[in-house]
């Protein structure tokens, strides 16, 4: 007895091993980075693709979902790419990353005085030790895979005391059916204030795979607004990770809007390294057809007097599967932590599913932590109330669903971004029922 069942590698895992072997010498970076790539790939091989028994990935079984892996994107590709504007009317600077390569000629860097922007490959070449620092404690196969195969991305440095009024968009574009591994590094100095916007898009019908890892640090008293829009092509796989550490009195507000991709997972890991920091973490998922979208959250209260607020809303139509996994950890010394997490799912169709695992892990006694979760359909009583006032059913439903999502979107506390995201939500609802079966 007690024999470990032998785990066979899947076809996707085999392909990745071959690809890494073939690409290892072409991948950018100093010898130290090359060594780190080897270690990361070994770590990936040890873990394998996450599967049902990989607890943090319980509901997103990549081993089963990723049947094949498209070719790696290395070097410049997508020359003729046209970058769509998903957020018309929202003023922002724009850094365009195509298949992992930073493309200054497609970007708009105006209004970013004082901010340093470099292609990540420069940092890899210099062996910048900040690369890999924030993700080091994560034992996550997808992040390890990214560390092994990352080809580029951007590095943004916001100096101390800078007040950047214009939002900075990192537009991640995939041009064709490739696998791109993107790494970004965002460093925000003390007392700085900045708004970051992460967008993700690619061609419809193309089975590309985007694995984006962003490492960020926010200094003391920094004020950060960070919004992510995942609007990948309908056949894509999106695996996005943000690992951020926040310091003394940092205010960090984050919103993820998930609406694209066939299979997507957005993971956000927030670590408190200084006292009296506050994080607001919000999410809105809108999916339909056979889409699968997973938002995973790890909040690590490592020091006392931290506060976190989480509100996640998911709307599932068609046969879609929405997932939320949240974990708040309060470490033994993190007294006076105040953590509150709420997750709500709205199922618009008989065949939709919602899976939630909101977890609290608490080792300090002087804390106030709570979480709640609900799942259900549109409240018939409220719907009837609207119908009785003469509002047509479709309109009434749109009204209620928009209101449902708005609470999370507005939690971010940024009116301009909030308005733009709500517009996306309204558009999504307007096309309800029109999607291909």
């Amino acid at each position: 007895m007690n024999a470990e069942p032998r785990i066979l590698r899947t076809q996707a895992e085999e392909t990745l091993a071959l690809e890494f072997a073939a690409a290892r010498t072409q991948l950018p970076g100093s010898p130290a980075i090359a060594a780190a790539r080897e270690a990361a790939f070994a770590a990936f091989q040890k873990l394998g693709l996450p599967h049902r028994r990989t607890e943090p990935w319980r509901y997103t079984d990549l081993r089963a979902l990723l049947r094949t892996v498209p070719p790696l994107a290395i070097g410049t590709s997508g020359d003729d790419v046209v970058v769509a504007d998903l957020l018309p009317g929202l003023d922002r600077a724009r850094l365009v990353v195509v298949d992992g390569a930073f493309r200054p000629e497609l970007s708009d860097l105006s209004g970013l005085d004082g901010v340093t922007i470099r292609p990540l490959v420069d940092l890899l070449r210099d062996g910048d030790t900040r690369v890999g620092q924030q993700i080091a404690p994560l034992n996550d196969a997808v992040v390890s895979l990214n560390s092994a195969l990352m080809v580029g991305g951007v590095a943004i440095d916001v100096p101390a005391d800078a007040r950047i009024a214009r939002a900075i968009e990192i537009a991640h574009v995939t041009s064709s059916a490739v696998a791109s591994h993107v790494r970004n590094l965002v460093t925000i100095g003390a007392d700085a204030s900045v708004r970051i916007l992460e967008t993700h898009l690619g061609p419809a019908g193309s089975a590309y795979q985007a694995n984006i890892v962003t490492e960020a640090t926010a200094g003391d008293r920094a004020k950060v607004i960070w919004a992510k829009l995942q609007s990948e092509g309908d056949a894509a796989v999106h695996l996005g990770t943000l690992a951020v550490s926040i310091a003394t009195e940092t205010q960090f507000d984050h919103l993820t809007l998930m609406t694209g991709a066939a299979i997507s997972r957005a993971q956000t890991f927030v670590t408190y390294t200084g006292e009296n920091a506050r994080a607001g973490l919000f999410g809105a998922t809108m999916i339909r057809g056979k889409q699968h979208a997973d938002i995973a959250l790890g909040v690590d209260h490592a020091v006392p007097n931290g506060a976190s607020r989480e509100l996640f809303k998911a709307v599932m139509d068609g046969r879609a599967e929405g997932v939320f996994q949240g974990r708040i950890v309060v470490r033994p010394d993190a007294q006076k932590t105040d953590g509150r997490m709420m997750t709500q799912g709205l199922l618009l169709s008989e065949d939709a599913s919602f899976f939630v695992k909101p977890e609290l892990e608490i080792f300090a006694d002087d804390v106030q932590c709570a979480h709640g979760a609900t799942s259900g359909e549109i409240d018939e009583d409220i719907l009837f109330y609207l119908l009785s006032r003469g509002i047509p059913r479709a309109e009434a439903e749109t009204l209620l669903v928009t209101a449902f999502l708005a609470e999370a979107i507005e939690g971010l506390g940024d009116e301009a971004i909030g308005d733009a995201f709500e517009e996306i939500a309204r558009n999504w609802l307007a096309t309800r029922g029109q999607e291909a079966a």
Partner: protein
């Protein structure tokens, strides 16, 4: 409030280890040789005079168990158990099977008296006011065997079968064959499979159609022998429209080494039937340094097989070094209901990983989960629960509330709920909080003249009240005392 005062007084009389059931009874016993093998399985089966089919069932389980690995997903830590270093069968020598009370070893009767479990029917009748509604029939299980079952005759008149499971296997093989392993399959999990191979005794209850069991049924489990694993098996069947309330209590002596307890409980409720199952688990928790104590690895599951059936689990968990149990409900019948009310108290070095699963399969099924975890000392207390709605479970409803209370800054309280809905009309609500007894709440009580111990007892009693109310009255009082005793010394 007399209950609190009484509790505090009682606590003061108890020594550091606080565990009042920690005595060993000097009973000559007969044991199987140490270790586990097919021969041991055959030995147990032979001791019980089991029919061939039962032996085969056990051997199948044993062979399956050999291929399985211990689960590692729960938040409990313990040194590897050497399954070959345990005794799998131990019986008091003087009782080779259930007998009438007169033949039971006086030492044993004295022990149950000391535990406060009345086995003498006459005493019960004489001792309690309004005896006709207050009687409780008891099946007493000592190490591996059922030593006595009270009120059997009277229950028989009502058509109720209440006996040791070993007796049921011989006397009612058709019923046992039909239901044993039908809720917890032989291969369900490592410990359930082990139990299926080596279970030695336990209780069997059968309530025929339309019968409301005339009294509470109760099983009292006692581990006495050193190095003995206790593997009891309980099977309760409520036929159409039947009702039964069943109570379970457990204690063990203080031992330096850890003892294994791996029980399986299966409940089957047919149409319109209701089963209420209450547990006060007070196995020896180990001493103040975390030495000794029971490993309580239990599989409990109820199957609401018939429409409109109802199964309700209530548990007060204060004992054991490690508790790993998830009394669950399979809500198969339409309009069936499942309930789980739990209080889990951990102190010292205790580890609790407990919760429930509510599997909504039928239409308009309802479930309710109220869990109150209290962690003190250096303990870890985890609630782990699953609520799921199957595609066809239209109109399913769940309400879950799990609250944790931390006393002291060396303990941990964890909440791991899984919520899975595959039906739009299923409405699930989950809420959880973690907090400590607020300083100002405590001060308010002190200002009114309560001592800090009394204040904590009062606040904790308030915290767990929703669950205590679910227990039968005799158990409720006992449970309240037990909780206060378990928390003794937790406020510094």
């Amino acid at each position: 409030m007399p209950a609190i005062q009484e509790t505090v007084d009682q606590v003061r009389q108890i020594d550091v280890d606080q565990y009042k059931y920690g005595f060993v009874t000097d009973i000559e016993s007969e044991r199987a040789p140490k270790g586990l093998s097919e021969d041991i399985v055959r030995f147990i089966s032979a001791k019980k005079n089991e029919p061939e089919w039962m032996l085969e069932w056990r051997l199948d389980a044993y062979r399956r168990w050999l291929t399985m690995t211990e689960p590692a997903w729960s938040r409990v830590q313990y040194p590897k158990i050497d399954f070959d270093d345990l005794y799998y069968y131990s019986a008091p020598k003087s009782t080779s099977g259930p007998k009438s009370l007169d033949e039971v070893d006086p030492e044993l009767l004295a022990m149950y008296e000391k535990l406060g479990i009345p086995l003498r029917e006459r005493e019960i009748l004489a001792g309690v006011e309004g005896a006709s509604d207050r009687r409780v029939a008891v099946d007493a299980v000592f190490d591996s065997v059922s030593v006595v079952t009270t009120f059997k005759e009277e229950l028989k008149k009502a058509g109720v079968i209440f006996c040791a499971i070993s007796e049921a296997i011989r006397e009612y093989p058709e019923i046992v064959k039909k239901y044993l392993g039908s809720v917890v399959p032989v291969t369900d999990n490592f410990y359930a499979t082990l139990n299926s191979a080596v279970f030695s005794d336990g209780s069997f209850v059968y309530i025929p159609e339309g019968v409301r069991c005339p009294m509470e049924l109760s099983t009292y489990f006692r581990i006495n022998e050193r190095n003995t694993g206790q593997f009891e098996r309980t099977l309760i069947i409520a036929e159409k429209g039947a009702y039964v309330s069943y109570l379970e209590g457990c204690t063990a002596p203080m031992r330096d080494e850890n003892q294994l307890h791996a029980a399986v409980v299966e409940l089957v409720a047919l149409e319109d039937a209701e089963i209420k199952y209450s547990t006060v688990q007070n196995w020896y928790p180990g001493d103040k340094d975390g030495k000794g104590g029971i490993y309580n690895f239990v599989t409990k599951r109820g199957d609401c097989r018939g429409d409109r059936s109802k199964i309700s689990w209530t548990q007060v968990e204060t004992g054991s070094a490690i508790t790993w149990k998830y009394p669950s409900c399979i809500l198969r019948g339409d309009d069936s209901q499942g309930e789980f009310y739990s209080i889990a108290v951990s102190n010292g070095y205790q580890q609790v990983d407990s919760g429930t699963k509510m599997l909504h399969l039928g239409k308009n099924t309802k479930s309710r989960i109220i869990s109150k975890g209290i962690a003190a000392g250096r303990s870890d207390n985890t609630y782990r629960g699953l609520v799921s709605a199957h595609r066809k479970a239209s109109g399913a409803r769940n309400f879950t509330n799990c609250d944790s209370l931390l006393i002291g800054d060396k303990c941990g309280a964890h909440t791991v709920p899984y919520i899975e809905s595959k039906n739009a009309s299923a409405v699930f609500e989950h809420e959880a909080t973690t907090s400590k007894i607020a300083d100002d709440q405590l001060f308010y009580c002190l200002q009114r003249g309560l001592s800090s111990e009394e204040a904590v007892a009062l606040i904790v009693n308030g915290f767990v009240k929703d669950v205590i109310q679910q227990l039968p009255m005799e158990f409720a009082v006992e449970a309240q005392k037990l909780i206060s005793i378990s928390l003794e010394g937790s406020v510094g």
